[in-house]
């Protein structure tokens, strides 16, 4: 067939609606993938950007030593932006008061990501500002103003320098980068640091080099710099594990969503192509009798598919682009920052998806048309040898695999999603078949409408088994997505519950514990714990001097003998889990310690080792009795070393507690600190707020993708009902012609769809549970869970949705004379 004829046939098929569903299915495949990838691409960019604000950069190098100039030169030669910060603690003086503050000195380029927020008055609302304090000027946290008794424009002494208060600092992007940065913040210009003379040999300093720019260049720089052993390289994923995890999981979820969207669209394309081919058997038979050769038929229908595919791809790309713009528009107020400009990749992805869908899902049915025997035109009873299932399923499986691997770049995710689908298809094929058999027994006693429905289901048992599988697969994929989404969001929310403690208080003397507690009760919400802390250091292990032990164990990189916070506890804290050994009984008199697992590994310690500590000049021995893992995401204090009460109970300790403070009550800190000047308050409220903002945005993204994929799912349901429509319609049209009332037909259709839907729901729920459990444990690193509610909801929703969609698709049968229906089918 020549091209002109092919295009005319395509046009006529389109005009008569024959090609409509295939075109729409392909269009939706391309449109869904394009819009999801466009959105995900831009959102991922935006999320990474937003998270980068957390570092005030894309990458960070930190050290207790000054960063060499060479590092800056190398970074700048690669076209990267750089900035530098220096954080140290210092006592500052203003008027007659003094206060321990955390000083951050920054250069003019700071911050590279995010922005500084300042206010005109202490405790006033802030606004973003470009720039940093000028030389000779400082910006202070609001609460330092009453604490020092100073106001804007006055001078404060920092070391040997006298600096003017030029502003009120409300927030800085990388405040969370060093959570246990003690004390309120003072921001100053890096150029003023030498004049303060506070930086002396032995001072505790934290130098940071901030980097921003092209991702590849950043990674090359990482490889090129001599970082070990003194300089630590950090990206957002390493520096904040809770955000890093949330981002990783959100990315996996968005990919999973996109992947399911592709699969569902592929199934819809396959179904509509098969229906199109089936409806063209006679058509091809006639063409063949009129002299069309199998080669011509093949070329003609391939041309037709290519033509429709191209049109669908072009329309799909445009629709995907528009859809994503609409999503961005609708969500503009929720979305973080301005989204970066999308690349070409989403469009290429959309176009290739369309092409692969057409080739893998639609082509086998089209190729098969060339095998239609011309004899069929005079012998209608001559069936067409069915398309080999191996060919059609094989092509679909290969197509899915290619698409999924290419789309996700994640073999595991693809593997688990496909494994879920294969399990459902094989195992639940039998379940569906068995359910239908069961239906026949029930049908014997049923009334007419139901009997008709059940006999219809029986007669086309093979087709109906396939249909239950397809419905089931679509519902299952949607359930999987909903369940995983719920699990992820719950997991994120549980990390930082509302009203989680946002301030820690340390250095509370034993005689101050009650007083501090009462004050907190009055103005804030007391946190869950009160830990004793005692400073001490390790002096020996298994009677070997700490230095000798370190020399013996090459893996020990930490300085063992540096002083650290120790504590004792009766019970295992909530965020800890034992991995080895046993927790002590409350009454156990033997001195014991429990160690954090990784810390113990680094120190070369195992259960049963004997550790000797020096606490205030007194030596005490304790046996390592257990190992623990910690939840670093939990934002609660974690201890590497915990003693049994018997070991440390008698030692004088200071205490540590936490509380939740409403933002508007921030000045309570001054009351607290003025009454108890020796205690230390650590503010983590800004960290928590930042983490919550990012998690909320990720959650919204996840929900959006869910809606898009739900749309693909509905399309599959419509395509599947359409695919079986002809057989169902011709039978019922006959019943109608023989005098079946509208009510009988409607009842029969309703019955058939209700049963199909409910069975599909059962199949879907079984498959979803298996797949979700696998995904949760293998991909998302969550614990598996069973969801009893879906066992009721799945079949109910399946029955409802399929009945509604099915009845809408079959209403022409109810509303038009049977003769028209029968003629239309022929």
């Amino acid at each position: 067939m020549n091209l002109a004829l092919v295009s005319r046939l395509a046009w006529r098929d389109l005009r008569s609606g024959e090609m409509g569903l295939l075109l729409v299915a392909l269009l939706v495949a391309v449109g869904t993938v394009t819009s999801i990838s466009l959105f995900v691409d831009r959102l991922q960019g935006a999320l990474v950007q937003e998270s980068s604000n957390f570092l005030a950069a894309d990458r960070q190098i930190s050290s207790s030593q000054a960063i060499p100039d060479d590092f800056f030169l190398r970074a700048q030669s690669k076209g990267l932006e750089t900035a530098q910060t220096l954080v140290f603690q210092s006592m500052i003086y203003g008027g007659d008061n003094n206060q321990l503050v955390s000083v951050k000195a920054v250069d003019e380029a700071y911050p590279l990501r995010g922005e500084l927020i300042v206010a005109d008055q202490p405790f006033a609302d802030g606004y973003p500002i470009n720039g940093v304090p000028a030389p000779g000027e400082i910006w202070l946290d609001s609460r330092l103003f009453p604490a020092l008794g100073v106001s804007l424009g006055e001078a404060v002494e920092v070391g040997m320098a006298s600096l003017r208060i030029g502003g009120v600092l409300v927030a800085e992007p990388d405040r969370g980068g060093s959570m246990f940065d003690l004390g309120p913040r003072l921001l100053m210009n890096l150029q003023d640091v030498p004049a303060t003379e506070v930086v002396q040999p032995g001072s505790r300093l934290s130098y940071r080099m901030l980097l921003a720019g092209d991702n590849d260049e950043l990674e090359t720089l990482k490889e090129a710099l001599p970082l070990q052993p003194n300089y630590r390289w950090a990206s957002i994923r390493e520096s904040s594990s809770s955000i890093g995890n949330a981002l990783d999981r959100a990315e996996s979820f968005l990919l999973l969503g996109g992947l399911l969207g592709v699969l569902l669209a592929g199934v819809a394309v396959g179904l509509s192509a098969h229906r199109y081919a089936q409806r063209h058997f006679d058509h091809v038979g006639v063409l063949k009798t009129l002299g069309a050769t199998p080669g011509q038929i093949l070329r003609g229908f391939m041309g037709l598919l290519l033509l429709v595919g191209s049109v669908a791809i072009l329309l799909g790309l445009a629709a995907g682009g528009l859809l994503h713009l609409a999503i961005v528009e609708v969500l503009a107020q929720f979305l973080p920052v301005a989204l970066p400009v999308p690349g070409l990749r989403p469009f290429v992805l959309g176009a290739v998806t369309g092409l692969i869908c057409a080739l893998a899902f639609a082509m086998p049915a089209f190729v098969h048309l060339k095998n239609v025997a011309p004899m069929r035109v005079i012998r209608r009873d001559l069936g067409v040898t069915p398309l080999s299932r191996w060919v059609s399923y094989g092509a679909a499986a290969i197509g899915s695999l290619v698409l999924l691997v290419w789309y996700t770049n994640n073999l595991w995710l693809t593997f688990w999603a496909l494994a879920g689908a294969v399990v459902v298809i094989t195992v639940f094929g039998f379940v569906a078949y068995w359910l239908l058999r069961g239906g026949r027994v029930a049908g014997m006693q049923a009334k007419s409408g139901w009997r008709l429905a059940l006999s219809g289901l029986q007669r086309r048992r093979q087709e109906n088994t396939a249909q239950i599988l397809i419905f089931g697969l679509a519902i299952m994929l949607l359930l999987v997505l909903v369940l995983i989404r719920t699990a992820l969001i719950e997991e994120w929310r549980s990390q930082i519950p509302e009203n989680a403690a946002n301030h820690f208080v340390m250095n509370i003397g034993m005689d101050e514990v009650d007083g501090v507690g009462e004050l907190i009760e009055e103005f804030a919400t007391q946190g869950e714990f009160l830990y004793p802390t005692i400073r001490g250091r390790i002096v020996a292990i298994n009677d070997l001097d700490a230095k000798a032990w370190r020399a013996q164990k090459p893996q020990v990189r930490r300085r063992m003998s540096s002083e650290r916070n120790l504590t004792w506890m009766r019970t295992l804290p909530g965020n800890n889990a034992l991995t080895e050994g046993e927790w002590w009984d409350v009454g156990d008199a033997r001195p014991q310690v429990s160690l954090e697992q990784e810390y113990a590994q680094e120190m070369g310690l195992t259960v049963g080792d004997n550790m000797t500590f020096d606490i205030g000049g007194q030596r005490i021995d304790a046996v390592v009795s257990s190992m623990r893992t910690l939840q670093w995401e939990s934002l609660s204090p974690n201890f590497f070393i915990i003693f049994s009460p018997a070991a440390l109970e008698e030692f004088p300790a200071t205490y540590m507690t936490s509380f939740f403070l409403e933002p508007e009550n921030k000045s309570f800190l001054n009351t607290l600190l003025s009454q108890y000047p020796t205690i230390t308050v650590i503010e983590i409220d800004s960290v928590i707020e930042q983490v919550q903002t990012i998690i909320n945005q990720v959650t919204q993204a996840v929900e959006l993708i869910l809606v898009l994929v739900l749309f693909s799912g509905c399309l599959v349901l419509i395509a599947s009902i359409q695919a079986s429509r002809d057989a169902r319609m011709s039978e019922l049209a006959l019943v109608r012609a023989l005098g079946g009332t509208r009510r009988l037909i409607a009842g029969s259709l309703t019955g058939e769809f209700l049963i199909l839907g409910a069975f599909a729901g059962v199949v879907a729920v079984m498959g979803a549970e298996v797949t979700v459990a696998a995904l949760q444990t293998q991909v998302f690193e969550l614990s598996a869970s069973v969801h009893p509610w879906i066992w009721l909801l799945g079949p109910l929703c399946g029955a409802l949705i399929i009945t509604v969609v099915g009845l809408l698709g079959s209403r022409s049968l109810l509303d038009s004379p049977p003769m028209n229906v029968l003629r239309g089918l022929n």
Binding site: R12, S16, D282, G291, P294
Partner: protein, 229 residues
Amino acid sequence: MNSDLPMSRIVVSAEGVTKVVPTAAGQLVILDGIDLEINAGESVAIVGASGSGKTTLLGILAGLDAATEGAVRLVDADLSRLDEEARALVRGQYMGFVFQSFQLLGSLTALENVMLPVELRGDRMAADQARQLLTKVGLQERVDHYPRQLSGGEQQRVAIARAFASNPKVLFADEPTGNLDTQTGEVICQLLFELNQEFGTTLILVTHDRGLAERCDRTIAIAGGKVAL
């Protein structure tokens, strides 16, 4: 129109044509060594009871189906030696068809259906020519109608116009009046013979209709898969 063919030249011949199909109960012999020859311009009716194998014979003579054994020649082509690809070319070049169930393409208008065989051959057919054919069958007012908008008789008239559009040497007709009432059947029959006469086509038809068979030059009766004598 096919005046270059001498009247006595054989256009269709079958020699020992046998068709056997496998069934659950074993091999079923539908045609059992059929021999026949049909001359150019001749009109032949193949008659027989239901299940006698007459439709199968028509399918094999027209190259729609392959014989299990035996040879079939059509004009100068040995159909039994050709594959489906080549048989299709022979059909496009020499044959026209009229079917009991009309077999128009539902997505094409009457005019487009008539133009289809010529387009398939890769030639261009003027729409005027197709219109003339539709006028000959009395459907000049309905050229742009779709098959579903036409009655059975009208659909069969479009099918006849289509059959003659490619100027075939042999026209195969399978129960052309089988789906029509007597009166309409008579009109269609009339039309078929008139056009056959006008185009000088060889006509081979399968029918139950005794009247239709009697209008043909010759009748071949099939019984039990053999030519009844």
